[in-house]
């Protein structure tokens, strides 16, 4: 999908119409949803302090001693435990969801940054240099697109020693496997941009390749990069959750939505609330970011509306 930078002047790049995003009701809803999650993650310490629980302490008093399910209706939801408690351990589910938001956002955002930096650099090179560099980068990108990276990540996660910090491993690996999408879009855009006269002018004036890429091309590529980046974040969040769900992501005790959902599998018939709270949090995260991403794309690429 091409993104037309269009009427904006080549060097300032910023469309006059970012404010138009506020007229897209769905995008605004997405921004609100994402804002709430950021608040939840940032305010996790404060909110859990108000509630009076942390995500690590076991609490048998909140459990039904017979079945191990939370005492009380709806998974133990009460003024004491806002989202109820985790079955078998009695850990506070609100605290798990709140601190889990930190994990999800950290890995989602950081791995996207890795993908975007790698993808933008490779895409620029492929599009601008053409020839062999283009062929190699594009071919490798095709492979990355179809590569069964989930399987690969599970396998690598299994054999990496536990002393290597898991969040860092996930950020690097997820980030690495995401560059191809960014590169494809940046490359396509670079191909059209390099025909434009301001690029030729800059070259004639003696600018080096690096200068052309950095000063002339990159400032004109931020719109498509932001769009694809925004749409990558929910995917990364879902991927981290999927890996943790499978037991190959974030290890305990660090809270993770995916791992909570994974443990909820065994309790689904007796304590469905244990699935619903972390599940809803994950859904809100991916949905709101997708809505924002769609809104941004519509904004920058009117033809796709």
């Amino acid at each position: 999908m091409r993104v037309d930078v269009g009427e904006s002047s080549p060097t300032t790049g910023r469309p006059r119409s970012v404010r138009r995003l506020w007229h897209d009701r769905w995008a605004v809803a997405g921004l609100v949803g994402f804002g709430l999650l950021v608040l939840l993650a940032a305010g996790a310490d404060l909110l859990t302090a108000i509630e009076g629980h942390n995500p690590y302490d076991y609490n048998n008093a909140a459990l039904d001693p017979q079945s191990g399910t939370p005492a009380g209706p709806l998974g133990g939801v009460s003024g004491e435990h806002w989202f109820g408690v985790e079955p078998l351990t009695g850990r506070d589910l609100f605290a798990i969801v709140a601190y889990g938001a930190r994990t999800s956002l950290l890995i989602g955002l950081a791995s996207t940054v890795v993908s975007v930096v790698l993808g933008a650099a490779l895409g620029l090179l492929a599009g601008y240099l053409g020839g062999w560099s283009d062929r190699i980068i594009s071919r490798v990108g095709d492979v990355m697109f179809g590569f069964p990276y989930l399987i690969f990540l599970i396998a690598v996660g299994a054999v990496t020693p536990l002393s290597f910090p898991r969040p860092l491993l996930l950020i690097v690996l997820l980030g690495f496997f995401g560059w191809a999408r960014v590169a494809r879009i940046v490359r396509a855009q670079t191909l059209t941009l390099k025909q434009r006269s301001f690029v030729a002018a800059s070259r004639v004036m003696g600018a080096s390749t690096v200068q052309v890429l950095w000063r002339q091309l990159l400032p004109n590529l931020w719109a498509p990069i932001i769009v694809v980046g925004t749409l990558l974040v929910p995917e990364r969040i879902a991927a981290e959750a999927a890996l943790s769900f499978l037991g190959a992501g974030i290890p305990p005790p660090r809270p993770s939505w995916g791992r909570a959902i994974g443990s909820a599998v065994d309790w689904i018939s007796t304590d469905p609330m244990f699935l619903l709270f972390p599940g809803a949090a994950l859904f809100v995260a991916t949905l709101s970011l997708n809505l924002v991403g769609d809104g941004l794309r519509d904004l920058f690429d009117p033809r796709s509306v």
Binding site: M1, W26, R135, R139, D142, V143, F145, G146, F147, P148, L150, I151, F152, I154, A155, V156, G157, A158, V159, T160, P161, P234, A238, A241, A242, F245, L246, G247, A248, I261, A264, V265, I268, S269, P272, L275, G279, L282, F283, T286, L287, N290, L291, D294, R303, S304
Partner: protein, 333 residues
């Protein structure tokens, strides 16, 4: 001649990709400090036994030698150890699981029908659902149908498979007690039970995947509606059905085929998540078992098998591309 060169070039490319994947996988598994020999050696593991196990598995060789042995094993088969204790792994040897005492390829093929049933059934559903609703949405652009379909598509894109799967199990399995919540029945035993056990996973996978196809189809259709050839078709007085169903839909085919090749390949290589949620004993489940028992030969074999399936599907896509779009046959596109 050109067609032969096209196919030959693609086959060569396929081979190179697989070699690179094999190389990278092997290096990673080799460099990481998990030792298959130690795992197979048992307790107590004396240094002498460990040395025997390492020698038996061929782990004393340098890494490139091991990789070469592995690769020749795929073509010609190989033998681990020597004498009476030797284990022969017939071609195509994708490795040998010392933990399960079985050839990796046999383990994979024994699970393949489950994964194939799941993937192919879901793929048929999501193609129909995705392309169908995308076309409908484009034709009825701006109406309530369009908005509803696209809202459903955004929700689908944003819903993790396992979350929807678990909700499906909760609602249709436990609460309404309509469908079985797990297990697999081979199609040769009972086609009805086979389909009945797979219906929920099919629907879940189909919905989640269809979302992307609906959006893609709608976008491509709308783009086509603005093109001259559609205007020409309409001006010729063709029926709207023929304009939409024949002329505009052709514009949709190429990107849909590309996406379909990637998705189907990834799924056939092991629907890890769906299989875990619905308790289906497919290749994905095999892989999770391999991870949990640190069965490295099995993991490596599965990773390569997954890559192989993806590459074959991409190859098929390239061939279909050549048929659909003669422009791609000539150059190096």
């Amino acid at each position: 001649m050109r067609a032969a060169r096209f196919v030959g070039g693609r086959l060569l490319g396929m081979l190179i990709v697989l070699l690179v994947v094999a190389l990278i996988s092997y290096l990673i598994f080799y460099l990481l400090p998990a030792d298959p020999a130690r795992l197979a050696c048992g307790r107590p593991c004396t240094p002498a036994n460990l040395a025997i196990a390492r020698d038996f598995m061929g782990l004393n060789e340098p890494w490139y030698r091991q990789l070469l042995d592995f690769l020749t094993g795929i073509v010609a088969g190989r033998t681990f150890g020597s004498g009476t204790a030797a284990i022969h792994c017939a071609a195509p040897c994708f490795g040998y699981s010392f933990q399960q005492n079985a050839q990796v390829i046999d383990l994979i093929t024994s699970r393949a029908p489950v994964t194939a049933s799941l993937a192919l059934g879901a793929a048929v559903l999501w193609l129909i659902l995705g392309v169908g609703s995308g076309v409908l949405s484009a034709v009825r652009r701006g109406t309530a149908i369009d908005r509803l379909t696209m809202a459903g598509a955004v929700a689908g894109v944003s819903t993790p498979t396992y979350l929807l799967g678990l909700l499906g199990i909760l609602v249709f399995g436990f609460t309404l007690d309509m469908v079985p919540v797990s297990g697999y029945v081979p199609i040769v035993d009972s086609p009805v039970d086979w389909a009945w056990h797979l219906i929920l996973p099919w629907l879940v996978l189909a919905y989640v995947n269809a979302a992307l196809y609906a959006r893609l189809t709608r976008g491509q259709m709308l783009e086509a509606f603005g093109e001259d050839y559609i205007r020409t078709a309409r001006a010729k007085g063709l029926s709207e059905k023929r304009v939409v169903g024949w002329h505009a839909l052709r514009n949709v085919l190429l990107p849909v085929v590309t996406l379909f090749g990637i998705d189907l390949g990834a799924l056939l290589g092991g629907a890890v998540i769906t299989e875990r949620v619905f308790g289906l004993p497919g290749i994905g489940a095999l892989m999770i078992d391999a991870v949990q028992s640190l069965d490295l030969p099995l993991l490596l074999g599965c990773t390569l098998f997954g890559a192989l399936v993806v590459v074959i599907c991409n190859f098929a896509v390239d061939l279909v591309y050549g048929l659909l779009d003669p422009r791609t046959r000539g150059g190096n596109a």
